[in-house]
């Protein structure tokens, strides 16, 4: 299991991020811990404001200035990267860590040929390499990300490339440093589905070929279910569920996850009914002290608004931050029945 010490490519422990400093600071990421083994792709799913992107930016050392309070530890290949200054953090990480963002245009320079931009990334990470060798390596990388006629395509400018091709260029730049960890934040969200599929296949291939540990961040539960064997779900700054993807998506142990699944049109079609989650995601600092989800939860009981639920180990490979995770399966099952509540529920 990936949680064993020493075997993680990426390990995040007790990550806490706050907007502002001092006693009035607002937590936006709370107590997030997880690890990813080499060659493993893990999905991190959540809606806006869940803290999923901030978690990635914290790992990357690219936190926005509004985040003034930061605690916890992050290590890559067993090496701690939580250095005190932002600058050192970036340098320590840059060699082993790469990130791909949602909009490839923001990562590309519109006035430079794509081959040049990849070559620049190569030179950045290969001291002493000649321009010619870097260009050659750039062409190889473009070929590796399955860009057709890489030699010729290297001379194109970003505006001459399609959205999918631009994202491939960005991925080529990301793997130019031979990272052990790749953070992919909604890398296919701006793309058409047919293109999305091919970029996902590319990521999967690279992950296997290069033994990359990939943190795949998405709002789309369907998308993670293909390539990620393990999935984590965040809500209002906290990890609320983690487990093997198929288990999480078919037998969730947290009411938010089951509610979110019922919101997905294909699942609603399968169930024959669309049941939206009531209410809305709480903004930073708006959620209650106890369970963050209590106001929207159909299974909430007294304890839920009194005590914050811990992230409990539900089984060897599953975690849930719900007081009632043990009853979840029964609760969800009975909810589907038209008859009044099953008398067995209480005893389950």
């Amino acid at each position: 299991m990936a949680n064993e010490p020493g075997h993680a490519a990426l390990r995040v422990e007790n990550l806490n991020l706050h907007i502002g400093a001092g006693p009035d600071s607002i937590p936006v990421v709370e107590d997030v811990s997880f690890s990813i083994a080499p060659g493993e792709m893990v999905g991190l799913v959540g809606e806006s404001g869940s803290g999923k992107s901030l978690t990635a930016l914290a790992i990357m050392g690219l936190l926005p200035p509004a985040i003034r309070k930061f605690s916890g530890s992050i290590s890559i290949d067993g090496e701690s990267v939580t250095a005190s200054t932002m600058d050192r953090r970036v340098r320590a990480r840059s060699r082993k860590l790469a990130m791909v963002f949602q909009n490839p245009m923001t990562s590309l320079n519109p006035s430079q040929r794509i081959g040049h931009q990849v070559a620049e990334a190569v030179r950045e990470h290969t001291p002493g390499i000649s321009r010619r060798a870097a260009w050659q390596r750039a062409v190889e990388l473009l070929d590796l990300v399955e860009i057709r006629s890489a030699e010729r395509s290297a001379k194109l400018y970003p505006y001459q490339c399609s959205g999918g091709m631009r994202q491939r260029v960005v991925i080529a730049m990301a793997i130019a440093c031979k990272p052990s960890v790749l953070l992919a934040d909604e890398p296919t969200t701006a793309l058409d589905v047919t293109v999305q599929k091919s970029v996902m296949e590319l990521l999967k291939n690279l992950q296997e070929e290069l033994n990359l540990a990939v943190l795949f961040i998405s709002h789309d539960l369907g998308l993670v279910s293909g390539p990620c064997r393990r999935t984590m779900v965040m809500y209002a700054g906290q990890l609320v569920e983690e487990g093997p993807t198929t288990d999480v998506l078919t037998r969730p142990l947290h009411p938010y996850v089951s509610g979110l699944l019922r919101c997905i049109p294909t699942r609603a079609l399968e169930l024959g009914v669309l049941e939206p989650l009531p209410g809305r995601v709480p903004g930073p600092g708006q959620a209650g002290e106890a369970c963050r989800f209590v106001d929207r939860c159909r299974h909430a009981i007294e304890v839920c608004s009194a005590t914050p639920p811990p992230l409990e180990q539900a089984s060897a490979d599953r975690r849930s931050r719900c007081h009632r995770w043990m009853e979840m399966e029964t609760l969800e099952h009975t909810q589907q029945l038209p008859a009044p509540a099953d008398p067995d529920v209480a005893g389950a």
Partner: protein
């Protein structure tokens, strides 16, 4: 059932630039009263252009486009009567609401403009409309910038409903929203359809969404409708067009839920 058909598009052609490929290439569609027609396609398929043509925002170049037996455009100018009976909901609720108006004015405008409501009549009706889309009537005084994306889209829907339209054309109405908010808006739109009998032309890149919302679905690619089928038939096994099948095969899917009897425990 001729009178039952509300929208008729026949061999509609739209060309943006003289040298550009046709944005809409001989598209024929029909929408019946109270029906929900989905148009799916990827970037550049022509689905949004088609939405604009049908809603009277963009004259087409060739072919026939009619609403309830009247040509939507005459000599390149829209028949403004159409705008009373056809409303639009756009993708980005952050851009489609006038930031200089409060919510009440935005929702009330069609009442005043099309139906000559007095200020007090307008206030009463706006409160009803806001309640109808699940918003507190007190939000009438709020500027759009104070609202979340989901609330803004509810305002767009309330405004569209104010005109008591027979048809609402929605271009990616939930694409900018989070999954749980998206579900709320879709449920609301379904409810309004049942309550008011309004018809939808529902444009989306998301196949699950159109399948959930529509009776029939037209698949567009490169300006053409490549296939039109019942929502229930939109699957890799039943679609016949190769592009439709490729599109369907690309959609990420959730693992199927186990049947309760197969569940452990």
């Amino acid at each position: 059932m001729g009178s039952d058909v509300m929208v008729v598009a026949e061999d509609v052609v739209k060309r943006y630039g003289r040298k550009d490929p046709l944005a809409v290439d001989r598209v024929s569609l029909r929408v019946r009263r109270g029906e929900s027609l989905g148009i799916v396609g990827e970037t550049g398929s022509g689905k949004s252009t088609m939405a604009k043509i049908l809603s009277g925002l963009l004259p087409h170049d060739e072919g026939r486009a009619e609403f309830d037996g009247r040509a939507i455009y005459r000599r390149g100018r829209v028949d403004r009567e159409i705008w009373k009976r056809v409303q639009m909901i756009f993708q980005d609720p952050y851009e489609s609401l006038n930031p200089a108006m409060d919510v009440g004015t935005i929702v009330g405008e069609p009442l005043v403009f099309w139906r000559g409501f007095s200020p007090s009549q307008t206030r009463t009706r706006v409160a009803e409309l806001l309640e109808g889309v699940g918003l507190a009537p007190s939000l009438a005084q709020a500027p759009p910038e104070e609202l979340s994306g989901g609330q803004r889209q509810r305002v767009s829907i309330a405004r569209a409903m104010a005109a008591e339209p027979e048809l609402i054309i929605c271009d990616e109405p939930v694409a900018a929203l989070d999954v749980s908010v998206q579900a709320q808006i879709l449920a609301l739109m379904n409810e309004l359809r049942e309550r008011q009998g309004v018809a939808y032309v529902f444009i989306s890149h998301d196949i699950g969404v159109v399948q959930l919302m529509c009776d029939r679905i037209a698949v567009m690619n490169a300006g053409k409708v490549v296939e039109e089928l019942d929502a229930a038939d939109l699957s890799v096994d039943r679609a016949t067009d190769p592009y439709t099948r490729r599109l369907l095969a690309s959609v990420p899917t959730l693992p199927h839920i186990d049947h309760p009897e197969q569940r452990p425990g």
